[in-house]
């Protein structure tokens, strides 16, 4: 075979045609070499992206057979235990999809598993971005898009969950109605608008269907595109390391290395979703039976991403206010409004505002293209763990009936424990995380100043045993040395004792105090014998210069 020196005509011709009309060559030349940094956690967002692709494809398949109608019919399909039972057309067509359409059950299960992976992928991606501070300038807007996507995903899940009109989805719908109707003043209007009359009415499935297959996915698709374009133009953050700085990106080019990895990761995601759908049954609607408002089952649960709202509802104390002491004047059911709105409000608003709050506290207006290691901003990491614990306690308590039934704990005990833990556990999480971060920083300082343990014990002529330390690998050292102190506001009063502008008044003083606590260098690097830690000073007194990279001790 001869060496290939010119482009074959079969490739050159069409390429030229396209290039002359679209100018694609220039675009590709610029973008195919785009560099992507490499770290496993940077792929987590792709779980959500690829699950979304799977959702669009399997969802389209499902629309071919699903009938979004609440008209009552007698079931006459092939699932024997429901023969002759009256049910809505939506439920009957979901049963048809499951039992009478070839591949229908697999598609339904893939759609549902992909939905769970979609939200789970978004969650871990958001956590990665949060804990590495990757939302900092200039990426705040992309972070906000992400928060919007997460909210929409919950809404998409809620509407999709209600479509098959089985008993379990009906229970979820009933809670949705309960929340809507508990809103002060507008509650009844909102409910009648949503359901087209008395609950459950005959419209809600077709309305949710339009939202679920058209409006919300459309917005999600647009926001996902915006998310990707912004990421592309702003470039991905990278972990600190050798030869990396705030103005470059070290990694693999999009073509071929990153494209191959992304392609492989799509296949992995597909394999996991298809594998789960093949081997693990999800949402067996035929077991739940058709929805009638009179029936409700033990163990009725929402999908996991709504679990924290369920948990909030379950541990809430039964408070309600009758206006003017009588229910005729109107009732404010705090026992529904608070769990429905407060946890969600805290988490979503907190996520959206965090980048701006952090900047307000630290006064950090610089651009950041490094992913910060979580330990190096201990207060942020502790706040993140606090939020996770808050969410986690609610999530766990959303399943308190299953916990009670399967682990033989009194249901009442789980509820009372939940009411205490929802306040106690986040506070503990804050303290523990903060101390762990400092501990890890101290460990890093130790690695930089006198190397890593080599595992070699040496006996000195006079009998003393010492352990040899070797200098850390240069990649590791560069990674550790990428640490930057968290910025602090200049809060020191001037010579006349007047604090700087913006630090006056009660809010300003609070800001200055928060800045002082949040920012600063807690454990300076390059000094393993942290200042002010007397006992360590003694312990290492004989070691010599802290920054010596030869074998020290």
């Amino acid at each position: 075979m001869s060496e290939l020196t010119t482009v074959p005509k079969a490739i050159g011709g069409p390429s030229n045609f396209l290039d002359e009309r679209l100018g694609a060559g220039n675009f590709l030349k610029r973008n195919l070499r785009k560099v992507f940094p490499d770290h496993w956690s940077f792929l987590l967002g792709e779980i959500a992206l690829y699950s979304f692709v799977i959702l669009l494809l399997t969802g389209t398949f499902l629309t071919f057979w699903f009938k979004p109608s609440m008209a009552e019919i007698a079931y006459d399909g092939s699932y024997a235990p429901l023969k002759g039972v009256m049910m809505s057309q939506a439920y009957a067509s979901s049963l048809e999809l499951s039992f009478d359409v070839r591949g229908g059950l697999l598609m339904r299960q893939m759609h549902h598993w992909a939905a769970l992976m979609f939200v789970a992928g978004m969650t871990v991606h958001a956590l990665r971005v949060f804990f590495t501070g990757a939302y900092r300038k200039p990426r705040e807007l992309n972070w906000l898009i992400g928060v919007g996507l997460l909210t929409l995903a919950l809404l998409e899940g809620l509407t999709g969950y209600s479509l098959p009109d089985d008993l379990l989805s009906g229970a979820g719908l009933r809670i949705t109605e309960g929340v809507a109707i508990s809103l002060p003043l507008v509650g009844t209007y909102v409910t009648f608008f949503l359901f087209g009359g008395e609950y459950p009415g005959e419209d809600v499935v077709s309305r949710f269907y339009s939202l679920h297959i058209l409006l919300i996915p459309g917005i999600i698709l647009a926001l996902v595109s915006a998310h990707m374009v912004l990421m592309w133009t702003q470039k991905h953050t990278q972990m600190p390391g050798k030869n990396r700085n705030n103005h470059n990106v070290v990694g693999a080019p999009f073509y071929p290395a990153f494209m191959a990895k992304a392609g492989a990761y799509f296949l992995f995601t597909f394999a996991v979703v298809a594998g789960l759908a093949t081997f693990a049954q999800i949402n067996p609607i035929w077991l739940f039976g058709p929805y009638t408002p009179a029936d409700v089952s033990a163990g009725s649960q929402p999908d996991f991403y709504m679990g924290f709202l369920e948990g909030a509802l379950r541990i809430m104390v039964p408070w309600e206010i009758n206006l003017f002491g009588t229910s005729h004047a109107g009732t404010l059911p705090l026992s529904v409004i608070i769990p429905a709105l407060v946890p969600m409000g805290i988490i979503m608003t907190g996520l959206a505002l965090y980048p701006f709050l952090e900047r307000w506290v630290t006064g950090d207006k610089r651009e950041h293209h490094f992913a910060e290691r979580p330990r190096n901003n201990p207060h942020r990491t502790a706040i993140g763990m606090t939020a996770i614990t808050f969410y986690g306690v609610l999530w766990l308590l959303g399943a308190n009936d299953e916990i009670s039934a399967n682990f033989h704990i009194s249901l009442n005990v789980t509820t009372y424990a939940g009411r205490v833990l929802i306040f106690l556990a986040p506070a503990l999480a804050y303290l523990i995380t903060y101390r762990i971060c400092l501990g890890l920083q101290r460990y890093d300082a130790g690695v930089v100043s006198h190397g890593v343990e080599s595992g070699v014990i040496k006996r000195l002529p006079h009998g003393e045993y010492i352990e040899l330390h070797t200098p850390p690998h240069e990649d590791i050292e560069a990674h550790v040395r990428g640490k930057e102190p968290v910025l602090m506001l200049p809060a020191a009063p001037d010579s006349a004792g007047i604090p700087p502008k913006g630090m006056r008044g009660p809010l300003g003083k609070l800001r200055a105090r928060m800045s002082k606590a949040y920012g600063g260098e807690k454990i300076p690097l390059g000094d393993g014998h942290a200042h002010g830690e007397g006992h360590e000073e003694e312990e290492h007194a004989a070691i010599g210069a802290g920054d010596d990279h030869s074998l020290t001790r």
């Binding site: 490499d38 496993w40 956690s41 940077f42 792929l43 024997a80 235990p81 429901l82 023969k83 002759g84 039972v85 059950l105 299960q109 769970l116 992976m117 789970a120 992928g121 871990v124 008993l167 379990l168 990895k261 492989a264 990761y265 992995f268 995601t269 996991v272 789960l276 759908a277 093949t278 081997f279 693990a280 049954q281 999800i282 949402n283 067996p284 077991l287 739940f288 039976g289 009638t292 009179a294 029936d295 409700v296 089952s297 033990a298 163990g299 009725s300 649960q301 999908d303 996991f304 679990g307 399943a399 308190n400 009936d401 299953e402 009670s404 039934a405 033989h408 704990i409 009194s410 249901l411």
Partner: protein, 270 residues
């Protein structure tokens, strides 16, 4: 470094050892549990006078809590006058009675050594003689083949699942009580539970749910529990809780491992 030493120092070695140890402990536990189970009681033979023999059994095994004349002891156990043979058959054949301790609820457990169909019949005859009550249903009354599963399913959803869950997987009640799993209950036991209302369960008498309807409900319960899950492993059939666990533990862990794998750098030989 020999190959075995290299394996021993492999980063995954400690996990392998941990999993091995856990498996070993698990197997040992299972073996002990098997040994601890009592052997099936041999069938007692001979029937002279059921009521008299039932009274003797009662005095031996039940009277310490229910009183010598089944009148009940306040704060300890209810009276058994009028509960009928069906209640005796349900409680004793499921191992709930004699109770092991006075907890929130007596659980289903392996029957006691003296319990067999014969001794239950005698005990039932004695309790029946005290003040009547529901009788043990006949074979035909609980024959699932004669019931209409579709109709039974509707009744099951309307009356049972708020405590027992949509497939009878059970659920929690207040103060440590619970609605048990229905998978182990025989058709006769299901019927008896409905007519006697054991523990926290209400009574569904024949005017609330007719005997034919009860038979249809049994037909539904047994047909659904014998069903092979068409979608793969049933995950306990308790709904989104286990599904969420699987999504996070199996799905997300697998994908995180995949991400670590494809972004891993080749280790440099030093």
């Amino acid at each position: 470094m020999t190959r075995i030493t290299a394996w021993r120092r492999h980063p995954l070695a400690r996990y392998a050892v941990l999993i091995f140890a856990l498996a070993l402990v698990g197997m040992a536990y299972t073996a002990f549990v098997q040994v601890g189970k009592p052997a099936d009681a041999a069938l007692a033979s001979g029937r002279v006078d059921d009521v008299a023999e039932g009274k003797a059994l009662f005095e031996l095994h039940c009277s310490s809590c229910h009183g010598l004349n089944a009148q009940g002891i306040s704060g300890k156990a209810p009276t058994l006058i009028g509960v009928g043979a069906a209640a005796v058959d349900f409680q004793v054949s499921t191992g709930r009675m004699p109770a092991a301790d006075s907890g929130a609820q007596a659980p289903r457990k392996p029957e006691h050594r003296w319990v067999n169909p014969d001794s239950i019949r005698k005990l039932g005859a004695y309790v029946q003689s005290l003040g009547g009550g529901p009788q043990v249903p006949g074979k035909e009354q609980v024959d699932a083949k004669l019931g209409d599963a579709g109709k039974g399913g509707e009744l099951f959803r309307a009356n049972c699942i708020q405590c027992h869950n949509w497939v009878g997987a059970g659920g929690a009640l207040t103060q440590g009580k619970y609605a048990p799993n229905l998978n182990q209950a025989s058709p006769t036991q299901i019927y008896e539970a409905m007519i006697t209302g054991p523990q926290a369960m209400p009574v569904f008498n024949d005017s609330t749910i007719t005997p034919e309807e009860k038979r249809s409900m049994i037909a539904y319960i047994t047909s659904v529990r014998e069903q092979t899950d068409p979608g793969g492993f049933g995950l306990g059939r308790i709904g989104p809780v286990t599904e969420g666990l699987v999504a996070w533990i199996a799905g997300l862990s697998a994908l995180a491992l995949a991400a670590i794998w494809i972004t891993a750098k080749k280790r440099q030989k030093s």
